[in-house]
């Protein structure tokens, strides 16, 4: 399991949080999704054989949130 931390722009609406969490969680190979509302970060664990960090970032980007940085630790 690898870990990814995405830094987003400021999050202001609590419903954005639910949205991002559900979208990332429903991506295959991704588990343990945490959206930090105040820090504007998404943290998740993923299986590098199933999915890449870039793909997770793309899911968030598609929801309309800019991903400013993307850090992966194995």
């Amino acid at each position: 399991m690898a870990k990814v931390t995405l830094a987003l722009d400021e999050l202001t609406c609590p419903s954005c949080l639910t949205k991002i969490k559900q979208a990332v969680s429903s991506t295959p190979g991704v588990t343990n999704v945490k959206v930090l509302f105040n820090a504007g970060k998404v943290k998740a664990e993923f299986d590098p054989e199933v999915v890449q960090a870039e793909k997770i970032a793309a899911v968030v980007t598609d929801l309309g949130y800019e991903v400013k940085s993307n850090k992966t630790t194995v």
């Binding site: 400021e10 202001t12 609406c13 609590p14 419903s15 639910t18 949205k19 559900q22 979208a23 930090l36 509302f37 105040n38 820090a39 970060k41 980007t61 598609d62 929801l63 309309g64 949130y65 800019e66 630790t73």
Partner: protein, 632 residues
């Protein structure tokens, strides 16, 4: 979903266009007869305004979330159906503008953690075989040798292998007074080298460093919800759909679309969902700036309700290592006193005994000159040190060498012993010259801080210790404690905490975080104290990075303020909705004015939370030091 990104990116342009069109439309409406132009402008304003809102509503709906945006979207569509175009234009504008202001003000409440993250070092100078090299901190590895120049940030956690200097550790401990560091001492990432030059051997980098852990902890803590927040969350989950249903029912019964859509706008839970989190963010963020790490809203609430504080003695209330507490001088002649103390220093320097080292530290502090001895002192095991002219040690040493104490001298020794201190006596062949009392001294601010806690209504302050009753009493009587529990084993401490809780007390346990993790975990709030207490960060609920006792006072004050602030915000939010509903029943509120009051109430709760960002004096001092650090 390119569209969504475009809209999010150009939110401000949408707001601006929406505002201009609405302004023009309303002007035409009021000051000219061009009704058609006015209506066209207002329709355009509404469409541009509702577009980003509806998009949000739709994308949330795809993930089965009924959002505030959905309520507003339906209300705006409803207003279109009834032909209330100026209302729809005003409502969209107020909603977008409110959201914009919310973003700006929220950023302020989050600023504390932002400034902390910005203090994280980004580059480092590495020593390599080819010479010095500038690298990104992410590229550093364990065992890399990093060079730190004055004004530079220390980029890693590690040990100094060469050089010395004064280091400002405000980012870690909240204390901005520079500390002297030399070879073999530990330094922390995020601290600043004031003067000197260091080569540091890397032990931890990035997120693994103490500084990295602090940031992560604070980020997560700001999102860890208080009981009030959890309640609101559950409430809001049903509340928003309920508003939708109620509005529908009202429409079906009254057949009055106008009232139904007004109800949708009034029912928006805006201030309610933002009110409690915003207090927490501000409270936890501003505490973090003062070196007080609180692990989330739940801890804040628990700490605000604590009525009993239990203190570990050694290393928490006290410094944790022996110090010379009293020196009684029986020499009249100033010149002889000078000579004796200088000799004492030289003698004690030859010993590695903890008491000897405490004396050396004390005498060096008093600037006693260094002299060399003619012959090296002889050690008498378990008693002390002996030279040709001086005897330094305990009573046994003097007795064994035939030095008799008179009544007055005996009294002096007794006085020291009654304070729970170890005695070191200095005598020549006939008389006692000096008597030193050595013990574990209280930390400087302890008594004052405990008095402050008392003044705040915390009357149950109890010391727990494994020491014997006499030495516990000796330390305890210098403090405004309500109780002392001595001779406790670690499991006894645990049992004592549980007994207090069984009596219905809310217990905070304050320890140094080194060997009292069971007690820290068992208490309602476990508070660990001490700089760079790495392990404690994970077990304790609250970590005071600064060993200063006043930080405890600030922590409790802040948590009480934060809790009160949360309650105020919930009252404001619920009160606003109630007042609006009453207004609606009395026919005094329409959709546009309802939206205005709503957005205003959101700003009110945010501004209320901002009051928590105001700092106490202690916190202020720390902040100024950090600002200087950033400017460099």
């Amino acid at each position: 979903m390119k569209l969504q990104r475009f809209v999010t990116k150009h939110n401000r342009q949408f707001l601006l266009l929406n505002g201009i069109l609405m302004g023009l439309g309303l002007s035409f409406n009021f000051w000219t007869d061009q009704r058609t132009i006015a209506v066209i402008l207002l329709i355009a304003a509404s469409i541009i305004g509702v577009f980003p809102i509806a998009l949000h509503a739709f994308s949330a709906l795809r993930y089965k979330t009924i959002s505030i945006e959905l309520l507003v979207t339906i209300a705006v569509i409803g207003a279109f159906v009834v032909g209330e175009f100026h209302e729809s234009a005003i409502v969209t504008f107020l909603f977008l503008f409110g959201g914009y202001l919310e973003k700006k003000t929220l950023a302020k409440t989050r600023a504390s953690i932002k400034t902390l993250t910005e203090l994280a070092p980004t580059t480092a100078t590495v020593k390599t075989a080819q010479g010095e090299k500038q690298v990104d901190v992410d590229d550093l590895a364990v065992a890399d040798q990093v060079l730190v120049r004055p004004g530079d940030q220390i980029p890693v956690d590690g040990v100094i292998i060469q050089g010395q200097g004064y280091v400002n550790e405000a980012a870690i401990t909240g204390e901005s007074k520079p500390v002297f560091k030399a070879t073999t001492t530990q330094v922390y990432s995020g601290s600043l080298l004031d003067s000197g030059m260091l080569t540091v051997r890397t032990e931890k980098v990035g997120d693994e460093t103490t500084f990295g852990k602090i940031i992560e902890l604070v980020e997560e803590a700001q999102d860890a919800k208080s009981p009030a927040e959890k309640f609101i969350d559950r409430f809001a989950k049903f509340y928003t759909p309920a508003v939708l249903v109620i509005a529908l029912v009202v429409y079906l019964i009254t057949r009055d679309l106008n009232t139904a859509i007004t109800l949708l706008v009034l029912g928006c839970p805006g201030a309610l969902v933002i009110g409690a989190p915003v207090s927490n963010v501000a409270g936890i963020g501003s505490s973090a700036k003062a070196g007080i790490l609180v692990k989330g809203g739940e801890v804040t609430t628990a700490l605000a309700h604590v009525d009993t504080v239990l203190f570990d003695k050694t290393g928490t209330l006290t410094v944790g290592k022996p110090e010379v507490v009293t020196t009684i001088n029986l020499i009249d002649d100033a010149e002889k006193l000078k000579q004796t103390t200088a000799q004492l220093l030289a003698i004690e320097k030859t010993s590695k005994h903890p008491l000897a080292q405490a004396i050396v530290t004390d005498l060096m502090h008093k600037k006693i000159p260094n002299i060399s001895l003619k012959d090296s002192p002889e050690t008498v095991k378990g008693q002390g040190l002996v030279t040709d002219t001086l005897f330094v040690g305990n009573q046994r040493l003097l007795a064994d060498h035939g030095i008799q104490l008179d009544a007055k001298e005996k009294l002096t020794v007794q006085q020291i012993q009654q304070q729970g201190l170890s005695t070191v006596l200095v005598a020549d062949k006939q008389h006692l010259l000096l008597a030193l009392g050595i013990g574990d001294a209280l930390k400087p601010d302890t008594a004052a801080a405990l008095s402050k806690l008392k003044a705040m209504g915390l009357n149950r302050l109890i010391m727990l210790t494994g020491d014997n009753a006499a030495s516990a009493q000796a330390i305890g009587q210098q403090l405004p404690l309500s109780g002392i529990q001595a001779e406790l084993l670690p499991e006894d401490k645990l049992a004592y905490i549980k007994a207090q809780q069984a009596e219905g007390h809310q217990v905070a346990f304050v320890g140094d975080g080194i060997n009292d993790s069971p007690a820290l975990a068992a208490a309602n709030v476990g508070i660990a104290m001490g700089a760079g207490a790495d392990a404690a960060i994970e077990t304790a609920d609250v970590t005071l990075m600064n060993a200063n006792f006043m930080a405890l006072v600030v922590a409790i004050q802040k948590s009480r303020q934060t809790h009160a602030n949360t309650v105020q915000n919930i009252v404001i939010a619920i009160g606003t909705v109630a007042a609006l509903l009453i207004g609606l029943l009395l026919g005094k509120i329409d959709m546009a004015s309802g939206m205005f009051v709503h957005e205003a109430s959101i700003l009110v709760v945010i501004f209320n939370a901002m009051r928590l960002l105001r700092h106490s004096n202690l916190a202020k001092r720390i902040q100024t030091a950090k600002k200087i650090a950033v400017q460099r």
